[in-house]
């Protein structure tokens, strides 16, 4: 069973189905897209049930050659770091498609773009070949560019180009870095390969970078830069406010998943493959992350537009993810990884609600609103829940991730890994988040109704409420039972940290884990076999 391939390419099948339908049948197009993403989500849940959380090796691995001359393969694998991101992608893609019933212009192309995006994101979370990862990573650009350009707001042309050029600029250097890494692998082993399992095996034994420790940080930065742009992290974040402000709602929801490709890149590639550079360069990255937290929060507080406010809030929240990852402590990285999910959920619910507001009112400017609570109590209630999750109130998912990330950062600070002052400053980010989010809530829902147009705003419809309710379920699930999410990633996170922090020769290897898993499987099978033999005797 090529479960991972099926998962990755199911949305593409959906694209074909959608394109075969006539443009006039808008409802069937929407249903086909929704059905596809629903099935994809079901397949990803199936993966979760079969997932073994006791190993850090790649599971359901698929390995076949693609470009043999260059050692590029079609390799997929799932581990504790990617499992939740895969589920987040399939879930939020479903939400994004379900939330796009109001799109009436070029529905076919719209749904096709969303599904291609989903496929590309799944592919990049699942690839265990760097070039394949890069292929999927870049494949997201064109559909997203189209989404902004065709269905976007007023300044869509500017926003779309800014998005694409920024991301492309970051990733072209990633490409140079990837090629250089492949070349180093060639030098170390004599065969060319972009298989990260093989490359990491060399790194773990200290062979790959032996004698090239001076170059390692340069290649590390080629990788880090692309992921920092994508994450986004200060000072490479300037594309995100435009993208969030001008995209259609579904585009924003999916780009809130897409930014995880950046943080995922750090976990999957930067930490395991550049352990020596990580130690020296991470204090700089941590400083960027902390500046991002505080700067994002401060700028968010003065935004007149809800979407731009949310964009800067994303910058701030993703800063916590990065800070957690850069702490290189188990608690911190787990917190960061969890915060990725929380941010995905809480950003989606808020964007969804802001989208509903925009549909009803045609504006997302704070000054146009006020006193909505009286007219739309349910709307206000769910907005409050989403907002509190974003603030990080205990009991919601936002709290657990941020708290763990900060604890991890403090541990790292005490170890002298980076300055403790940084962590203290980052702590203020939590307070600032409360400031700008509560300010937004107060502006929109409390006070007097200032504008006549707001007097007759309808409350949430059932279908809208159902979608939002689904997200709220995860907010509390993540807040009250975080272990559901933490357990499966524990072993993988643990070993990723060891890969980055141990001396050469002591670093765990994906290759060994895979071999051990195979052995286990064989062992599990033998007893029944022997039992059978014994029974026959």
């Amino acid at each position: 069973m090529h479960l991972l391939s099926i998962l990755t390419f199911l949305p593409i099948l959906g694209v074909i189905a959608v394109l075969l339908l006539p443009e006039a049948k808008k409802n069937s197009i929407r249903q086909a897209a929704m059905l596809t993403s629903g099935i994809t989500f079901a397949v990803s849940v199936l993966l979760l049930t079969k997932f073994d959380s006791q190993t850090f090796g790649f599971q359901f691995a698929e390995n076949s050659e693609w470009i043999t001359q260059l050692g590029i393969g079609y390799r997929l694998g799932l581990d504790g770091i990617s499992i939740w991101l895969v589920l987040l992608t399939t879930f939020l893609s479903f939400v994004a498609i379900a939330a796009s019933t109001k799109i009436d212009k070029r529905v076919r192309a719209f749904m096709a773009c969303l599904l291609i995006l989903e496929s590309a994101m799944l592919g990049s979370f699942l690839s265990t070949d760097i070039v394949l990862f890069f292929t999927f990573f870049e494949l997201t650009l064109i559909p997203m560019w189209l989404l902004i350009n065709i269905w976007g707001g007023e300044k869509r042309a500017h926003a779309a180009n800014k998005f694409l050029i920024y991301t492309f600029a970051g990733s072209i250097f990633l490409l140079v870095g990837i090629i250089f890494l492949g070349y180093m692998q060639f030098k170390a082993t004599g065969t060319l390969s972009f298989d990260i399992v093989k490359i990491q095996a060399q790194v773990a034994q200290g062979k790959l970078w032996a004698g090239f420790l001076g170059i390692e940080p340069i290649v590390f930065w080629a990788f880090a830069l692309a992921f920092l742009v994508k994450s986004p992290c200060f000072p490479f974040h300037t594309w995100i406010p435009d993208t969030y402000a001008e995209s259609p709602v579904a585009g924003v929801i999916l780009s809130s998943v897409m930014v995880k490709m950046g943080t995922f890149g750090f976990l999957r590639f930067c930490l395991p493959l550049f352990p020596d550079a990580v130690k020296t360069q991470i204090p700089i990255l941590a400083a960027f992350a902390v500046i991002g937290i505080v700067y994002g929060a401060a700028v968010a507080a003065v935004q007149p537009d809800m979407r731009r406010l949310m964009a800067y809030s994303s910058l701030s929240h993703m800063g916590f993810v990065l800070l957690g990852i850069f702490s290189l402590t188990k608690i911190g990285v787990m917190g960061g990884a969890l915060q990725q999910l929380s941010h995905g959920i809480s950003a989606t619910i808020l964007f969804l609600l802001i989208g509903y507001l925009a549909e009803r009112r045609g504006s997302t400017k704070l000054e146009d609103f006020g006193g909505l609570k009286a007219r739309t109590p349910i709307f206000a209630a769910v907005f409050l829940i989403g907002m509190l999750s974003s603030v990080g109130l205990p009991g919601t998912n936002g709290f657990v991730g941020e708290f763990l990330a900060l604890v991890g950062a403090f541990q790292a600070g005490y170890k002298g890994f980076f300055s403790l002052g940084l962590v203290v400053v980052a702590g203020f980010g939590v307070v600032l988040a409360a400031v700008y989010l509560l300010y937004m809530f107060q502006k929109v829902f409390y006070g007097q109704i200032t504008s006549e147009e707001n007097r007759n705003l309808p409350d949430l419809k059932r279908s809208e409420l159902a979608l939002v309710g689904l997200l709220i379920l995860f907010i509390f699930w993540g807040g009250l039972l975080p272990n559901t999410f933490l357990k499966p990633m524990e072993v993988s996170v643990d070993n990723t940290i060891l890969m980055a922090s141990q001396r050469p020769g002591h670093r765990p290897q994906w290759a060994e884990a895979a071999a051990a898993d195979k052995l286990d499987e064989a062992r599990n099978e033998t007893p029944t076999h022997i039992k059978g033999l014994e029974a026959s005797r």
Partner: protein, 487 residues
């Protein structure tokens, strides 16, 4: 005394000459058909040309299985490089033929002579790419160019077409002069027109001969630099591309470039011992070619001009591949060949889409004129988007793999600075490629007029072939590259 008059008829192996002959004869047949045809129908000529090109391609693919050899007194060589280049030329020519008819009619210049000229131009390119004899290279270049001069001026009612023909002709003649002058230096140094002797003479440490070789190489590079549009010999490119009929510009961008790069490759391959002279010089030229091509393209408003500058920039990228090969001979010609293949697919495809802009004898190719293409012809708009993505180098398109290979070769050959320059230029290029894609795809004002004009089947065919090809050459990279680089 006797010896001077002794002339042995060289032996001929027709497997080496067959493809060229087929294309040349097809050109003649096409011309005869043109003379006999009923007045307003070129379809038979198109049919004959396509059949001839397919036959030529078949004979080339058969030739791929043959060992390397030289024939006709070493004036024609059959090797994997030459044959692949010829295949590319035949492909470019066939694709151009396919989308030309609709364009020529729409532009109201339905001259049947176009097809024979195009075929002979292809012949010139094919001759250039499979020889090591400098005079034959020159001959091929002239056959290629003279046909192009005529074709560029084909739209006689338009001043810009005439201007473009004259400009191309004058500068082309100038370039030929440089090339010939360079060849004469090499002949003076080696006593032979064959490139294979260059290395031996250089190794013999004859200082005079060496100096002459350096001069010869420099002059030949100027001549070939014109044809490949390397900066600073590029000025004609955007003007000629803009002025010439779109299908001619397409063949110039793809076909003429293949021929010129093949010749350049042959020359530099022969002068490999003198890498110390030409590698630094051409590194500088490659760098400025990339920057000038890309920066100039950013400010352009006309699609054909943008594609002209894009072809300059791409020439710079290809130079990097050649330089890497010059530094490390083990790299082989796979990268250049693959890049040319991908470049041909995406550039020809893009020109084919642009050719849709011709209507009722007029042609408007400013960026904003593309607006609404999404409504008029959704398939070509999607194809154009794919070509632009490929030109930018977004995976999984051929353009990405082409750039990937160049980066890789550069890393292997120790040319990291050039790879970085290429990376920076790729970023700059996104801007104008996106502008083209956006113009076609996005309608700022949703005008409802001009609803779906029927796209000619030739154009949609070429779009489909190129768009599918852009992905197919990535998917089937392994068999493809082992085919084009076999010994």
């Amino acid at each position: 005394m006797d010896k001077a008059f002794h002339f042995a008829v060289p032996s001929l192996d027709w497997t080496a000459l067959l493809p060229v002959s087929i294309v040349a004869i097809t050109g003649i047949i096409a011309l005869i058909v043109e003379m006999l045809r009923p007045k307003h129908n070129n379809n038979l000529i198109v049919g004959v040309s396509v059949v001839g090109l397919v036959l030529a391609a078949a004979s080339l693919i058969y030739g791929m299985t043959q060992p390397t050899f030289a024939t006709a007194a070493d004036m024609a060589v059959r090797d994997s490089f030459g044959t692949t280049m010829q295949l590319l030329l035949v492909m470019a020519s066939a694709l151009t033929v396919l989308f030309s008819e609709a364009y020529l009619r729409a532009k109201r210049i339905p001259f049947g002579e176009f097809y024979p000229l195009l075929l002979w131009s292809t012949v010139g390119g094919m001759i250039m790419s499979s020889t090591t004899n400098l005079l034959v290279i020159f001959l091929g270049l002239e056959i290629l160019s003279i046909s192009l001069y005529v074709m560029a001026g084909m739209s006689r009612r338009e001043e810009k077409s005439e201007e473009s023909a004259i400009k191309y002709f004058l500068l082309g003649a100038f370039a030929s002069g440089f090339l010939l002058y360079g060849i004469s230096f090499v002949y003076g140094a080696t006593g032979s027109l064959d490139l294979n002797f260059v290395s031996a003479i250089y190794q013999s440490h004859d200082q005079t001969a060496r100096t002459m070789l350096v001069f010869g190489l420099a002059l030949m590079l100027i001549g070939l630099g014109f044809k490949t549009s390397l900066v600073p010999f590029h000025q004609w490119t955007p003007d000629v591309y803009q002025g010439a009929p779109t299908n001619v510009a397409a063949f110039m961008a793809a076909g003429a470039k293949i021929g010129a790069f093949a010749a350049l490759w042959r020359v530099l391959d022969a002068f490999v011992d003198m890498g110390a002279y030409w590698i630094p010089a051409l590194s500088v030229i490659a760098t400025i070619t990339m920057f000038v091509g890309n920066f100039a393209a950013v400010v352009q408003k006309d699609v054909k001009r943008i594609l002209g500058y894009s072809s300059i920039a791409n020439a710079g990228y290809m130079m990097v591949a050649i330089l890497a090969y010059g530094k490390d001979h083990r790299l082989g010609h796979g990268t250049l060949t693959y890049f040319l293949l991908s470049y041909t697919l995406m550039t020809l495809g893009a020109f084919a889409v642009v050719s849709l802009q011709a209507r009722n004898g007029r042609e408007s190719t400013r960026l904003e004129d593309l607006n609404g293409m999404w409504r008029r012809s959704p398939l070509s708009a999607v194809a154009l988007l794919i070509f632009m993505a490929s030109l930018i180098g977004i995976p999984p398109t051929a353009g990405f793999v082409g750039k990937f290979l160049i980066f890789f070769d550069a890393a292997k050959a120790g040319l990291m600075p050039l790879a970085i320059v290429l990376a920076i230029n790729s970023i700059i290029s996104t801007y104008y490629y996106l502008a083209i894609a956006r113009a076609a795809f996005v309608t700022d004002s949703e005008q409802t007029e001009e609803l779906s004009v029927k796209t000619p089947s030739g154009v949609s065919g070429v779009c489909a072939v190129c768009a599918v090809g852009v992905f197919a050459v990535v998917l089937f990279y392994s068999p493809l590259v082992s085919f084009i680089t076999q010994k």
